[in-house]
Subunit: 306 residues, 2 copies
């Protein structure tokens, strides 16, 4: 599919793309760049790359496809470095969780004959680093492609085929809409999870060890996403600031309504709200986006089940 693919950033996503390319034979040569020599050595040792370079520019030279697999906050810096080195007709893509800011900040640094086709694979785990990657991370997961309005159609098709070959289901939408959708399905949930885990950590009357011990009663579901990569998430909130803040104000209004219902002991209002939220869960199960097994099918701790 490609002669040379350059992966700029070799964490969970970069290493999983590399494994996926290898498993599916999608490129003759995969070159990688990571800021730290330790990560580059680790990557070569793990065996998912053909070569590494010590600058992003060197990796991008001669590549047909360059993918920025780095926190959203460094995308512009990287685009500025790799853009001028990219060959005519090549594609610059990325895997960032915010898309409008990538188009705005990276587009201006590219020569006219290089195509910017941003993408966002909705896949990941709470683990980070080059050791965390695996070939099927994207299998049966959504990948949202957000081409700029004037995007080259052939380049869009190539990126689409690439992600389909990695196993993803593809959707195409505008960057602006993507950022609204992800604010709801991902950014606000992470902000809330980070907040509540922090709140629990600060209490004087309940110890941290008690929180951990009794976490199975609800709390632990939040801790998984609150363990996600801090730098990646810092950048997401800074780059989808308006979307997140707008949604947060709605969330605050809804929470305040439930708070008032508790204060006023308005059981009917509470019950009505709690009943309504069940239907979304049903939709998620029906569409195969989650398992219906109790406790998410946490098999290892449920292996005592008769």
């Amino acid at each position: 599919m490609f002669d040379r693919v350059a992966l700029i950033g070799l964490g969970l996503i970069g290493s999983s793309i590399a494994w996926g390319i290898k498993a599916n034979g999608l490129a003759k040569h995969v070159v990688g760049y990571a800021r730290s020599a330790e990560t580059r050595d680790k990557a070569m040792q793990l065996g998912f790359l053909n070569s590494v370079t010590d600058t992003a520019a060197k990796a991008a030279e001669g590549a047909d496809l360059v993918i920025l697999c780095a926190p959203v906050g460094v995308m512009e810096h990287l685009a500025k470095e790799v853009g001028p080195k990219m060959k005519a007709g090549a594609i610059l893509s990325d895997v960032g969780s915010v898309k409008q800011s990538v188009i705005d900040s990276c587009g201006k640094h590219l020569p006219d004959d290089v195509h910017l086709i941003p993408a966002h694979p909705i896949a990941g785990t709470e683990h980070s680093g080059p050791e965390a990657g695996f070939a099927s991370l994207f299998n049966k997961r959504w990948c949202i492609i957000t081409p700029p309005e004037d995007a080259n159609a052939a380049a869009v098709t190539k990126v689409q085929e690439f992600w389909a070959a990695l196993g993803s289901d593809i959707t195409i939408m505008s960057a602006e809409h993507h950022d609204r959708v992800l604010a709801v399905t991902s950014h606000l949930p992470h902000l809330i999870a980070y907040t509540i885990v922090g709140t629990a950590d600060d209490l004087a009357t309940v110890t941290k060890s008690e929180v951990i011990k009794y976490s199975a009663s609800g709390f632990r579901d939040f801790t998984r996403i609150a363990a996600s990569d801090p730098v990646m998430w810092r950048d997401i909130f800074l780059n989808n600031k308006e979307g997140v803040l707008e949604l947060l104000s709605r969330f605050n209004a809804d929470l305040s309504m439930l708070e008032t219902a508790i204060k006023n002991e308005d059981g009917a209002a509470l019950e009505a709200h709690f009943t309504r939220t069940r239907s979304i869960r049903r939709g998620i199960i029906e569409q195969g986006q989650d398992v219906d097994a109790p406790d998410f099918g946490r098999s290892k701790i449920d292996d005592t089940k008769s």
Copy 2:
């Protein structure tokens, strides 16, 4: 261990206790009561009871141990009904998620020679009803026993042995402390999850089907607990009102701090907060309260993993 155990309420917890008693031979006779005839029939059909009665009072007559397995809001009503029918020396226990209100509201309806020993098994799934129960639900899960200050020591020991026989690890603490601990580990997380799922359901710019489709990016972790039984949760918030409201005000302050950091584009504050929350997750994994497998080990949807 007991001649006759009466289970008042035959939902997930009641039916699981019955299955557990049967599997471990803990009682000669298990009698059950449920408000609806349909549930009582279903229970007999499923085979986890020896008999059913059509009033709670009849079930309690002659029982050595009566366990209220009903929403916290009906505990007082039930205690009032069963208390006068209970035999001298018998134990009244419950499985409610709030404990101080059970002691306050139920204690006064019991004869002096009946022992009130409240307990709270920290176990459950997002499914409800008599079909949802299974014998090992309590296996390796915590059960918190909250005896009143003047509790009969032999009765406390009996309740402790009963839950240990169902597989639980036991902790004893005051009802007041229990309610503070659970406010953090369970009540606030549920309130937040119910809120965010409701917020997502109300948006005009992002459709419900988009929320469902892309829920794997964080949102779906919240939907599991927001699918919990509405009546049970209404009663928990009404009965741990002070504890939940106090904690909620701390959560609101913390969230407002992160909101300000986003507004001011204070990346350092965000990163520092997001780094701190990782350690709690590590504690939960280390203590075996969750699995370290990516995505909670959602095995059924991850079975494509190579």
